[in-house]
Structure formats: structure tokens, C-alpha cells
């Protein structure tokens, strides 16, 4: 098993070190306070340098890869509350970047640093600085490059110190792995990596530094591509076995869990980091990119078995069968990864946004699913666009039914509407206006700060062509302008609602639109009959064109709207059909909706049909959810599907599942996140059947929904397939 098992144990034993006081700010403060006279960007460089220098360099005895986040914590009481507050005030004064000012959710350019090494990167910065000085470039470029140099030199020293720390440990216990870590880190402080071990060590230390800067959701990107040349060379020279490679990758990825150790009290989803790794896909020339490392990473993620590494597999029309099988194998263990991304949709979707086709082929993801131009664009940002809210506004002349606030524009009293198109027109107008507001408010945030002062000198070294241009990643250094994603929520809620209006009001004529509006405002009180009629109307996910046409409209309309806007540096607004878990809080702000949903209840989730309302099985879901044109959805989509373990353990059934997903992708589906429900999850299904109403059991000549089975029988599904 290599070092991973021992490392897991050791990390678990040392978990308490992750508690205590966070000192990232404090260390930055030390850097700022010694350089108050420097321009802000340079002071920032010194602050980052201090962060890299001051933090304690923990090395696990059983590790193969150095670099721990534990250095961000010191025991409670090391610094007084007063000291910490003082430090925090100074750091705040220099400005805090956040998600909406392009701070994290970024896939760095790892290729360049692997090619140059840290020493080479320092030379590159120095060369550029010299060039710009000679050319009489503006001060801001000189200062930016000075700052980048300061951070990179400090990074170099940091790497060396990890080497020293490993060496000290080695002198105590004589363990070979620590000597090797020491040798590697001392080499990487200046020189470029030659071996696979050295390469992945360097990547990890870069990633770790971003985490020290408190960045969340930093991606590792196309790990199987940029590390491949090293892997190939080593295996051809006979100095690296597959097992060893798996162990190296595992020891690297497992440390992602330190973030979780540090955020134990945080009970919401973001207690774990989200480090996206994109394997497979195509190369820049369009040919298949799957290689041995792709499989090794699958194995490593399986061995780690933690939520942090967000493994995503890029699938294309000619991807090897073996890759499909290995991905499904991993999904079948119940881990939920990899998410399956469809290159045949993602690449055209990005191309439509104006990027070079080769760069589109080189895309990776950040966060969960957000498509990103690897190493060539400022960090990602997104927001939530509450589409279902506009249904209500269109019914109520722009007024919120819950508060009476005039949130939207007046689009007319609905008693004047005579047909479905009148309502759609009003809805489109409300959506247009809401988008104007969304974009204005986002831009206020995104463009609020002086970009010269709120710089990112270290991060910019990992984005082309910041060093050459002498410009910060947000200030024109990046090859491509920044992008922003508007995650359009509730596609099913909206489609179902429009279908319900068409059926109940305009087809069956049970009530007028005005009456309907009032019924919704009263949360269906006293009109359960109408609510039932709404619930009986056609629902998205059942392959019914009556409602599916509105899902198509939803994507077309939102794409058309957001195509109009540009970010501060001329970049595009993407749309995404995803919501994370925000469909729940968003639902709190929305009145009762025409699909039969009551006031305040959750909206539909991401791209999925409304929970429990897809009653015709997975093929109907595939048929319905492949109708919208996802090539207009550049950010990405999430479609969650659950299956029982039987679907994976039986080769024949597994092949059918594979075929199903292939068909989905052929039909234009963009993404699928498959959950093979584990024992723990199935037990939860007994307690919360309402969350598993779509889980089906497929056995010869038999059909049932999982939740209709007797309790003791539900476990049989596992008995039937689990290995003794």
C-alpha cells in the first residue's frame, strides 16, 4: 500500500495541530509593517514573502511529498487578541480580495513553472523587469514585477526550508523518504524538476502557497497532462513503477484534507476544499489525451477516499472504452467521482465565447464544474440568478408578492393578458431587467477597487502573460479577459411553471391568469384544487414536449440576455445551469410558483427535473434534459443521478449504464454527476425516503422504486452484490 496508509494515520493523529489561531493575516502584517513606505503592490509582495517565510514548515514523517497547511495555525494564546486585531486591521487596510474580485477558483499555469523551475521563473521576472525598466515602462509595471520577484524569491526560500525541516526529521529518525524529500526540496528551491516525484512536489508547493494566501477552490487542472512528460521519462528509464506513482499522487492529494481539519466547526458544505482535477479529454490538437497518468489519478483518488479532490473526467466521442470503465468503476465505489464532462459540448460552448480553439480544447474546471481557460485568465467568479422569482414579478406587474417591493419593471396587469405569449413577453422583460440589475450590482463589486493597489503578484506568475507584460492578472496581464458566470437557477421550476400556466389557465381554463396570480399570492390557501391541477400538469424530466420546450426556452433566453454584457476588461458573461445548494436559500425568497410549489420551498436543483417529479425513469430524464442547447451554457451544468450498487457490480448492467451516458452526451447533455448509493446512503434512504424517490431497482422481470421496498429488503440490494 505504500506510504498512504501510514500518512493517513499520522495526519489523523496530528489533527489537533490544525486547531488554534489562524496566523496567515498576522504573518502578512509583519511584511506590511516593515515596508509601509513602499508602493502598495510592493508592500503586498513583502507581505506574501513574510507569509511564506514565517509559517512553520511541518513535514509528516510518513510522507513522500512535503508541504502542509498546518503552518497557518499556532496554539491559542501565542499571540494576544489585541495583537491579532491590530494585524488584521493593517491587512484589511491594504485590501482584501474575495471571490467577486477574481481571487480564487483558478486553474494555474503549471506548465511554465515545471519547465523553468523556480530559479528559471525568477530569471524570467528579472529579465522582464530589466526590459521594462529599459523601455521606460510605467511605474506600475516596474512595481508589479519587483513585487513578483520578491514573492518568487521568498517562495524559493520557503521550498528550501521545507527541505531543511525534512532533513532535521531525517537526522532524528533516519527514514529514507525524508532524506529524499529534503534533497528534492533543496533542489527545487532553484532548479527545475527532472523526475516525476520532483515535478509533483513542485506543483503541490505552489498549490499550497495559494492556500496559505487563503484562496479556496484552487484547481490542479489537467494534472495528467502537464505531469505526463515526467512520468513517461521516468517509466521509460525504469525508475518509476506504477505503484510508486499512485503512492506519490495519493500522498499529494490526501493533504487536501488539512483544510477540512482546519474548518471543523463549519457545518456547511464549504468545510472541505474543492480542488478540481480534470483528467482525460482531448489535447490541443483534438486527439485523445487519456494516458497512464489518467488511470493512476483515478486510482489515487479512490485510495484517498476524501471529499476534497474534485475529480472530473472529460469525455469525448473517441475516448477509450477502458477509460469509461475505470471511471464507472470508481463511481461504483460510492465516492461520487469523477463527474463526467462532455467535451463535445464544453469545447464548442467555450469557443462560442471567443477563445482560440486550441485553448478551448485545453480547458479545465474550477470549483465543481466551472469551465475555465487554464492559466490564461483571471480567477473565476459567479453569482446566482434567481429565474423563478421573475415568474412572480411577471404575474404581479413587477412587485414582489412577499414584500410588495417594486423589484421589477411594470409589465402590465395580467388581466390584460389574453394568451400564453403575453405572459412570456412579460416574463422576458422581467428577466431582462433583472439581468441589468444583476450585472450592475456585480460590476459594482468586481470593479470597486483600484486594481493597482489590490494586486496579486504571486498568483500572477501563474497566469500567461503577466510577467512578460508586467501587469497584474486583473490589470491586463492575462491573455484572456475575465469571465463571470450567472448560474441560472430553477430550470425545472420555471419550465414546470410555464407548463402549468399553459395547461391550467390557457388550455383547461380552470382560472384566469389574474385569479391564478392571486391564488399564488395567497400561497394556494383555500385553493388546493388548483394546486393539485398545477401538480398534475406536465413536468420536466418525463420526455414531454409540452413542458420540455420551456426548458429549451430557458437556456436560449438566458444565454441571449447574458451575451449582451461584458466584464470590466471586456470578457464574457457565461450562463451556468447549476446552483450548488443555493436552490434552497433562493427558494426562501420566492413566493408560491405556478408549478405547485409553495412559498419559500426549495427551487429545483441545478439542471435536474424537480425532485421526485421525474416519474418515467432515467431514459426519460435523458430525453428531456438533452433538449436544451447546452452549447450556449459556457459555465457548465450539473445533472445529479443516483443508482443502486447493482448497476455497477454487474458487468452487463454497467455496460448499459455506460451506453446510457454515452447517448446522453451524444444527444447534447453537458455533464452528469453519478452517485452509486452506498450502504450509508441506502440507510439514509430508509429514514428520508422523500429524497430517494427516484432510486429504481432493476432486476429481471421486476420493477420497483427503492423506497417502495420493505426495510429489511432494501439492504438485500447490497447483500446481493457486495463482496464478502
Amino acid at each position: 500500500m505504500g506510504n498512504l496508509q501510514l500518512l493517513k494515520q499520522e495526519m489523523e493523529e496530528n489533527r489537533s495541530l490544525a486547531q488554534g489561531t489562524d496566523v496567515a493575516d498576522y504573518y502578512m502584517f509583519l511584511g506590511y509593517r516593515s515596508h509601509y513606505r513602499e508602493p502598495a503592490v510592493v508592500a503586498k509582495g513583502y507581505a506574501i514573502a513574510s507569509l511564506f517565510k514565517e509559517h512553520k514548515k511541518y513535514v509528516y514523517e510518513n510522507d513522500l511529498i512535503a508541504g502542509s497547511l498546518l503552518g497557518r495555525r499556532v496554539p491559542e494564546g501565542t499571540y494576544s487578541q489585541a495583537e491579532l486585531e491590530y494585524a488584521s486591521r493593517v491587512v484589511s487596510s491594504y485590501g482584501r480580495n474575495g471571490f467577486h474580485t477574481n481571487f480564487d477558483h483558478f486553474a494555474p499555469d503549471y506548465e511554465t513553472i515545471l519547465e523553468l523551475g523556480v530559479g528559471g521563473m525568477i530569471c524570467k521576472i528579472k529579465d522582464s523587469l530589466e526590459k521594462h525598466q529599459k523601455a521606460g515602462s510605467k511605474d506600475k509595471k516596474i512595481n508589479f514585477l519587483r513585487s513578483a520577484q520578491i514573492t518568487m524569491e521568498a517562495f524559493s526560500e520557503m521550498i528550501f526550508e521545507y527541505g531543511t525541516a525534512a532533513e532535521e526529521l531525517f537526522l532524528k529518525n533516519g527514514r529514507g523518504n525524508l532524506l529524499e524529500i529534503s534533497r528534492i526540496c533543496k533542489k527545487l528551491a532553484k532548479n527545475k524538476p527532472d523526475t516525476f516525484h520532483e515535478a509533483i512536489q513542485l506543483v503541490w508547493l505552489c498549490h499550497l502557497s495559494f492556500c496559505y494566501e487563503k484562496r479556496y477552490a484552487m484547481a490542479l487542472g489537467r494534472l495528467d497532462q502537464y505531469l505526463y512528460p515526467f512520468y513517461k521519462k521516468d517509466t521509460e528509464a525504469g525508475i518509476l513503477s506504477e505503484e510508486r506513482a499512485i503512492d506519490l499522487v495519493s500522498c499529494t492529494l490526501y493533504k487536501i484534507i488539512e483544510f477540512k481539519y482546519m474548518n471543523e466547526e463549519n457545518t456547511n458544505l464549504s468545510s472541505s476544499d474543492v480542488v478540481n482535477i480534470a483528467i482525460g479529454g482531448v489535447k490541443r490538437d483534438g486527439s485523445d489525451a487519456v494516458n497512464e497518468l489518467s488511470y493512476i489519478i483515478l486510482e489515487a483518488v479512490k485510495n484517498c477516499n476524501i471529499p476534497g479532490p474534485n475529480l472530473s473526467a472529460r469525455m469525448h466521442a473517441n475516448i477509450p472504452e477502458r477509460f469509461w470503465d475505470k471511471c464507472l468503476d470508481l463511481i461504483g465505489t460510492g465516492i461520487g467521482y469523477p463527474a463526467l464532462m462532455n467535451d463535445e459540448v464544453n469545447i464548442p460552448a467555450l469557443f462560442r465565447m471567443g477563445y482560440d480553439i486550441e485553448d478551448c480544447r485545453d480547458y479545465s474546471m474550477v470549483g465543481c464544474i466551472e469551465n475555465f481557460m487554464t492559466g490564461k485568465q483571471a480567477p473565476w467568479s459567479d453569482g446566482r440568478f434567481n429565474n423563478p422569482k421573475f415568474l412572480e414579478l411577471a404575474l404581479n406587474n413587477g412587485k414582489c408578492m412577499m414584500t410588495g417591493v417594486q423589484m421589477g419593471i411594470p409589465t402590465g396587469d395580467v388581466s390584460e393578458f389574453t394568451c400564453m405569449q403575453d405572459y412570456i413577453d412579460a416574463l422576458e422583460k422581467q428577466t431582462d431587467f433583472a439581468a441589468d440589475e444583476y450585472v450592475a450590482l456585480f460590476e459594482n463589486e468586481n470593479d470597486r477597487y483600484n486594481r493597482e493597489r489590490l494586486s496579486q503578484p504571486f498568483l500572477s506568475c501563474f497566469c500567461r502573460d503577466c510577467i512578460e507584460r508586467g501587469l497584474d492578472i486583473r490589470d491586463g496581464g492575462a491573455i484572456y479577459p475575465s469571465a463571470h458566470g450567472a448560474a441560472c437557477m430553477g430550470i425545472a421550476t420555471v419550465a414546470d411553471s410555464l407548463a402549468a400556466i399553459e395547461k391550467v389557465v390557457f388550455t383547461d381554463k380552470l382560472v384566469t391568469l389574474k385569479e391564478f396570480s392571486q391564488i399564488l399570492e395567497n400561497n394556494f390557501e383555500g385553493r388546493e384544487d388548483i394546486r393539485q391541477a398545477c401538480l398534475q400538469a406536465p413536468k420536466y424530466g418525463n420526455n414531454d414536449e409540452f413542458v420540455d420546450k420551456y426548458a429549451r426556452w430557458f437556456v436560449d433566453k438566458n444565454a441571449e440576455i447574458f451575451d449582451r454584457y461584458r466584464t470590466y476588461d471586456g470578457g464574457r458573461y457565461y450562463i451556468g445551469i447549476a446552483s450548488n445548494i443555493t436552490n434552497i436559500p433562493a427558494g426562501l425568497e420566492v413566493s408560491a410558483t405556478p408549478d405547485g410549489r409553495k412559498k419559500g420551498k426549495p427551487l429545483s436543483d441545478a439542471a435536474s427535473p424537480m425532485h421526485g417529479l421525474d416519474k418515467n425513469g432515467i431514459t426519460a430524464v435523458v430525453n428531456s434534459t438533452s433538449k436544451p442547447d447546452f452549447k450556449k451554457v459556457a459555465c457548465g451544468t450539473v445533472l445529479n443521478q443516483k443508482f443502486t450498487p447493482m448497476m455497477f457490480s454487474d458487468c452487463t448492467k454497467r455496460d448499459k449504464l455506460k451506453t446510457l451516458i454515452k447517448i446522453y452526451f451524444q444527444k447534447g447533455g453537458q455533464e452528469m454527476q453519478i452517485n452509486c448509493v452506498s450502504r450509508a446512503v441506502l440507510e439514509d434512504a430508509s429514514v428520508h425516503p422523500e429524497n430517494y424517490s427516484d432510486l429504481v431497482v432493476r432486476v429481471s422481470g421486476f420493477s420497483a422504486f427503492y423506497t417502495k421496498l420493505d426495510a429489511d429488503v432494501q439492504k438485500d440490494i447490497l447483500e446481493r452484490t457486495e463482496n464478502e
Partner: protein, 259 residues
């Protein structure tokens, strides 16, 4: 009329009813009463109602035309094509409605969709004769290996069933025999050997063994029945069937575990 069938259920994405991704049409009505039946709601010829504890109600037995069933089937045409799948007509006993089966299978064929017929075989041979030209493969259940067991456990006529099987092979039908392996009934090596005698005698080449499961137990309760004998018998692990597969293969049969 042949145009209308009495249907229990229509099901997309069937993965255990033949090759590829299939749609299964479960017909209502059965003339057997197998002890281990997992679709008890399909037995009453007049239909039945399943009333679940959570208040949900399901009606088994609705009249549907060939056209209506075909519409449902055609939704998944892309899936059949890509996976080598098609339609399986099952039940209940589909051959109690042979004209409907004929009409439906013929309609499927005209859309280039292959049809498998899943039957217990306890019907006059004429029923088979009618539908055979439109059926790609017959899945033929062989529930026991002797008249006594057949009568006791299922109510079926062993002689008639075996004669039908023989006749099908003689008429060049593509037949796969399906044996549900039930604890305490036919799950022994000796029992299996005797099965093989019958199969070889009939000229059968392919056999599927289906491991016992009790996934239908809640349906009995929902039907208001308390006579399900297998309530506490645990679902059979597939591995338990391996010795039986060996016997079948040793004696020259093409055997596999399905379900």
C-alpha cells in the same frame, strides 16, 4: 380486440430483461401462482390495486391500445439502437393475450425494434404459433423439473409446458430457458442435473439462472395479502449460483447468471 391489451406496467431502462437497454411491457393476468412471485399484482386477470403505507396507490391493470404502448416504446428508440436493445413483453403471462402480443410485436418490428417474449409457457401452443414470426427471442421460464413440483409450487402443467418447449425448438424459435433458483425448492446439484436432462431432451442450448430475491415482498402487503412465504428468506448472492452454472456448462449448455 387484438388492438387493446390489459397492461400492468410499462417500464423504460430495463436492464435485466434481455440484451441492451430495453423497455418492458408488463401484461396483466397470469394463470400460475408461483410461491416466489415478485409481481403478485400482475396475477389477477381483472387487475389489482396496490395500497402502500405512505398513502400512495397504484393500479395494476389498465386498458391500452397498441398505439399507446408503441408511443411509449418509441420514446427510447435511440437507446435501443445504441445498445442493441429493444422491447421485452412480460407480465403476468403475456400469452394469455396472444393477439395483443402479435399486434404489438408486429408494430415494433415495423419500427425495426426487436422483441423478446418472456413467458412461463403454460398456454396452448397455438398462442406461441401466432406470435412467433414477430419475436426475436423467447425467454421461457422453467420453474421446476417435475410435474409434482410444478403443480405444488406454481399450479402449472409440467407436461404441457415441456411439450411447448420441445415444439418451439422444433419450430426453430430462438429460445433461452430461464430458471429462477429458489432456496428450498430447486437449489441443489441433483435438482439441477435433472433440469439438464429435460433441457437436452428438448434441444435447448441456452440457459439463464436467476438468483432468488424477495424485492417484491412489500407488494404483497400492499395487496392485502399475508401469504408470501419468502418474506424472511434473504436475497441470494449471485456467487451461490456458480456451482450450478458449472453443472450446466459441463453438460454442454451455454449458461450464465442473469437478473
Amino acid at each position: 380486440m387484438s388492438d387493446t391489451g390489459f397492461i400492468s406496467e410499462l417500464q423504460h431502462f430495463s436492464t435485466g430483461d434481455g440484451p441492451g437497454i430495453r423497455t418492458t411491457v408488463f401484461l396483466q393476468g397470469c394463470n400460475l401462482h408461483c410461491e416466489w412471485c415478485h409481481n403478485p399484482e400482475t396475477i389477477p386477470s381483472k387487475g389489482s390495486v396496490l395500497q402502500y403505507k405512505n398513502g400512495e396507490k397504484k393500479i395494476s391493470g389498465t386498458l391500452m391500445t397498441v398505439q399507446e404502448v408503441l408511443e411509449y416504446i418509441l420514446e427510447d428508440v435511440d437507446f435501443y439502437k445504441a445498445s442493441g436493445g429493444g422491447v421485452t413483453i412480460s407480465g403476468g403471462e403475456p400469452l394469455l393475450q396472444p393477439e395483443f402480443c402479435l399486434a404489438l410485436a408486429s408494430a415494433c418490428n415495423s419500427h425495426h425494434i426487436g422483441v423478446i417474449l418472456d413467458t412461463a409457457g403454460n398456454v396452448p401452443y397455438e398462442a406461441f404459433k401466432q406470435v412467433l414470426p414477430y419475436i426475436k427471442t423467447i425467454f421461457f421460464d422453467l420453474k421446476a423439473n417435475c410435474p409434482e413440483d410444478y403443480k405444488k409450487r406454481t399450479g402449472g402443467n409440467f407436461d404441457r409446458i415441456v411439450d411447448n418447449l420441445k415444439q418451439l425448438v422444433e419450430d426453430s424459435a430462438d429460445v433461452v430457458v430461464r430458471i429462477p433458483v429458489i432456496p428450498g425448492h430447486n437449489d441443489s446439484l441433483d435438482y439441477m442435473e435433472k433440469y439438464v436432462d429435460i433441457l437436452l431432451n428438448c434441444g435447448i442450448k441456452r440457459v439463464d439462472l436467476l438468483p432468488f430475491h424477495r424485492l417484491g415482498s412489500s407488494k404483497y402487503t400492499a395487496l392485502g395479502r399475508d401469504d408470501y412465504r419468502y418474506k424472511d428468506i434473504k436475497t441470494m448472492h449471485k456467487d451461490k449460483l456458480r456451482p450450478f452454472i458449472s453443472i450446466l456448462k459441463d453438460r454442454g449448455l451455454d449458461a450464465k447468471i442473469d437478473g
